[in-house]
């Protein structure tokens, strides 16, 4: 039903109804292509028919075309280049895969290595490709301009770049002009000539105007196509088109505003209402429009608007989603604001309700915030935050919650609990207890007043979550045994929920409890118990579609298995989740990249470099596209470990530096901890994998060995690693066994001989 974001970005527009064929321009574009120009630039403000022209040109083109529609979020180098390669992949599947791997090693402002690889890849194309970058004016990041400049300077003949934009890009246009490597189409070229205007107005729009009127219109609009379209729409059905021309050309009004006003007034009232009311929508479908305008014939209306060329643009191939042409929408919005401001809240409300009912929580909240009605917004957030959270779109959930008035988070138990989870996941333990105190009080007040909405499931699990959150804080403060007790006591209460709330809530509760038990036992260094609990999470997490927890648990469990030396188990865990992800299609969710990264790390230990690199690359790609920097940072840390193991310490340090940059801006303490760990591991002089032993030491054993070689006693080692003395003794025995020694002093000698320390 709904086109994914990706397909709308790559969607190649088709020519709209009734088009004036601009043969001379088309010929010029084709000629430019034939003579081997590097770049075709179509630069003009809105309403000059840029996209129409390009759509017409490529419809006749025999070769391969890739189209990328840019938007504001693409003004980020990593994202831009990822989508650039994705667009090229749509015409040639293997293209750019290696280049994308290079993207990871790119420094902040220098993407040279990636671009060189990309250029090499493009050179292998055995057929010519046109890549269109539409709406390039949204790009202002210097690094992207520099990258494109580099690309243009080294462009293989198989690729031709087309840029459509409202403003000239800061690329070396003068140089290209001088060398005749640029095909340029500008306002002067796009303006309708008198002949074209005549063909449009009389032949296409059937207006029967005389030559003088046509000339007058052409002069007044200066050949601006959108203007002539609006004028034509204004004149259709009028008995006296000449009167219109006289009035229009006789005044000095800002053309766009005057004409849109005219056109709007001439439409039947129902259509006027439709246009104004739907102007609040960033995208429209027939069903959505019905809801917002409270009518039943929006499908016909949209069809009608399209047929009349009233600036309705399809967003996908199925013609399900549309939007208004930007200029038209701007005008409609201000008209609505000026004349019917009181209706705005209601319109937004209808839109919000439709989006909520049709499974688009983000759009629903966008409109709910615009009303603004915080009671309604609260309700929507309560109903939707889990789903968004479960896919791993943490930033979205946080944004919703933080946009609400602050005290709401302390007065509304479900919202407060949700916020506490986001605090926890970012490692902000210090604030959780204070929120929990307020939440408990608010909850008690509601119960005493008999106002607890018990039919709403979220209100029935408040206390469970409070207990779990408090336990998690206890763990952080070092009260591990107490934390374990609290959570273990909670388990039967969760299971009971099946009677009242159903299996779904049991799954949610057990996912949370087993995960936290696993993490807590890990913190107590009881890895066997930790693994045991973490292994129970998967079926419950899948049951409630909590892929965020599933991904984290998988990552953690794999880490623990690695620490225990159980490499095969770690691999098995990751692979089984990966294959399930693909079946369930949650490979589309951002959190999924954590599993790819976890497997990459396991493969590093196994020295399967190729597959490790490939998975790392895939994981980073998912992370980049998601826009969530936390995942990207985790990816860089895995990259650091991988590069260190491959004997590239400098690169490893660069990766860590990139993770640190992210950590500075996102305030996530888990990330800081992971960064520290990674830094410690990669600063070791020898990498983990360069061991010439038959049975290599595990990471933990190596840690202990290093401390032994540093002259520490077992008691000191136990202190430093927060482990029990017996645990240390166990480790040292294993170490002696693996090194083939029986005494501490021999172990030190052997360790140094083998280069392990």
């Amino acid at each position: 039903m709904v086109a994914s974001i990706l397909s709308t970005k790559l969607f190649i527009p088709s020519t709209p109804y009734g088009v004036i064929h601009r043969s001379p321009l088309i010929e010029r574009l084709t000629a430019g292509l034939m003579t081997g120009n590097l770049l075709t630039l179509v630069s003009a403000p809105a309403g000059y028919g840029k996209t129409t022209l390009l759509a017409e040109w490529i419809a006749a083109y025999q070769g391969q075309i890739a189209w990328l529609s840019l938007d504001g979020r693409d003004n980020n180098p990593l994202r831009f280049w990822t989508y650039f390669v994705t667009a090229l992949k749509s015409v040639s599947k293997p293209l750019g895969q290696v280049a994308l791997q290079m993207l990871e090693s790119a420094q902040e402002t220098d993407f040279q290595i990636f671009l060189t690889e990309l250029v090499n890849d493009i050179a292998t194309l055995n057929h010519p490709v046109i890549l269109v970058l539409d709406d390039y004016h949204v790009i202002s990041h210097q690094s992207i301009h520099e990258g494109l400049t580099f690309l243009l300077e080294h462009l293989p003949p198989s690729l031709h770049l087309v840029i459509a934009t409202r403003t000239d890009p800061p690329l070396p246009l003068s140089r290209l002009r001088v060398r005749r490597q640029l095909t340029e189409v500008r306002i002067a070229d796009l303006r309708f000539t008198t002949d074209e205007a005549s063909a449009f107005l009389n032949d296409l729009m059937n207006l029967n105007l005389n030559a003088i009127d046509i000339q007058a219109l052409e002069t007044r609009t200066e050949g601006w196509i959108a203007g002539l379209q609006l004028a034509a729409l204004s004149m259709q059905g009028r008995a006296d088109a000449h009167a219109f021309v006289r009035d229009f050309t006789g005044n000095q009004h800002f053309v766009l505003e005057y004409l849109v006003e005219e056109v709007l007034q001439r439409q039947p009232e129902s259509l006027q209402h439709f246009l104004l009311e739907t102007s609040i929508l960033q995208r429209m479908s027939a069903s959505l429009c019905n809801a917002v305008t409270e009518s039943t014939n929006s499908a016909d209306t949209l069809m009608d608007l399209r047929r009349r060329n009233l600036f309705v643009i399809p967003l996908d191939g199925e013609h399900y989603w549309f939007r208004y042409h930007h200029l038209f929408a701007e005008f409609l919005k201000s008209h609505l604001k000026r004349t019917r401001a009181n209706d705005l809240p209601l319109l937004h409300r209808r839109a919000a309700e439709w989006f909520q009912a049709n499974d688009h929580p983000e759009d629903a909240l966008h409109h709910a915030f615009a009303i603004p009605d915080y009671t309604y917004v609260s309700q929507l957030v309560i109903d939707n935050w889990r789903r968004v959270y479960h896919t791993g779109r943490l930033d979205t959930a946080v944004q919703w919650l933080e946009t609400l008035p602050g005290d709401l988070l302390r007065q509304s138990p479900p919202l407060g609990v949700a916020y506490c989870w986001t605090l926890f996941i970012r490692g902000n333990y210090d604030r959780i207890d204070s929120y929990l105190d307020d939440i408990e009080q608010a909850f008690d007040r509601m119960v005493s007043a008999g106002k607890l909405p018990i039919e709403h499931p979220e209100y029935n699990i408040i206390l469970h979550q409070v207990i779990l959150l408090r336990a998690v804080v206890m763990r952080h403060q070092g009260y591990v045994a107490a934390a374990l007790k609290e959570i273990e006591q909670l388990l039967p209460n969760i299971v009971e929920l099946r009677e009242t709330l159903g299996q779904l809530y049991v799954d949610m509760g057990l996912t949370a409890c087993y995960s936290q038990l696993g993490y807590t036992y890990a913190a107590a260094n009881d890895f066997d118990k930790a693994g045991d609990y973490l292994s129970r999470v998967s079926p419950h997490a899948r049951g409630c579609e909590n892929y965020f927890s599933l991904a984290h648990v998988t990552m953690e469990w794999a880490k623990i298995s690695l620490m225990q030396g159980r490499i095969d188990q770690a691999e098995k865990i990751c692979r089984s989740e990966l294959s399930l992800a693909e079946q369930l299609n949650y490979a589309d969710y951002p959190a999924f990249c954590l599993i790819q990264l976890a497997l990459a790390d396991v493969l590093r230990v196994k020295k399967s470099w190729d597959e490790a690199e490939s998975l790392l690359s895939q994981g980073l790609e998912v992370a980049r596209k998601s826009g969530h920097e936390y995942y990207l940072a985790q990816g860089y840390l895995i990259a650091a470990r991988l590069h260190h193991a491959q004997g590239e310490p400098t690169r490893a340090q660069e990766d860590i530096h990139k993770a640190e940059q992210i950590a500075l801006s996102i305030h996530n303490r888990f990330l800081n901890y992971d960064i520290d760990q990674t830094r410690k591991e990669t600063l070791k002089s020898k990498s983990l994998t360069a061991q010439p032993l038959i049975e290599p030491l595990s990471e933990r054993e190596l840690e202990v060995l290093r401390l032994i070689c540093a002259g520490k006693s077992n008691l000191e080692i136990a202190d430093e690693l927060y482990l029990a003395l017996n645990t240390i003794k166990r480790h040292t025995n294993h170490i002696y066994g693996k090194l083939g020694v029986s005494r501490r002093s021999q172990a030190i000698i052997e360790a140094r001989r083998l280069g392990l320390v």
């Binding site: 403000p45 809105a46 309403g47 202002s140 409202r166 403003t167 959108a226 005044n251 000095q252 009004h253 800002f254 053309v255 766009l256 505003e257 005057y258 006003e261 930007h326 200029l327 701007e330 005008f331 201000s334 008209h335 604001k337 000026r338």
Partner: protein, 83 residues
């Protein structure tokens, strides 16, 4: 972003607020002027709209320029007014 405007747009005045004059093609109606609420608007005889108003700093200026572009307006003059 670089300062694309020439020296006439030197932003140092005592009050940190610059008064600027902006001329746009066409007589703007209410639906467009609503986006320039801080400005006083006047129509010129030769078919332009003269906006006069305060621009706090470079960022505000770039914002106005983007608005002008977004609305499909044509800028014919930009001038800093002498105090």
């Amino acid at each position: 972003m670089r300062n694309h405007l020439p020296y006439i747009c030197d932003m140092k005045t005592q009050n940190n607020v610059i008064v600027c004059e902006i001329r746009l093609k066409g007589h703007l109606g209410q639906n467009t002027l609503i986006w320039f609420e801080d400005f006083h608007a006047e129509y010129s005889a030769d078919g332009e709209t003269i906006l006069r108003g305060p621009i706090i700093d470079q960022a505000a200026l770039q914002g106005i320029l983007m608005r002008i572009c977004d609305l499909g307006l044509e800028l014919t003059l930009f001038k800093r007014m002498e105090q």
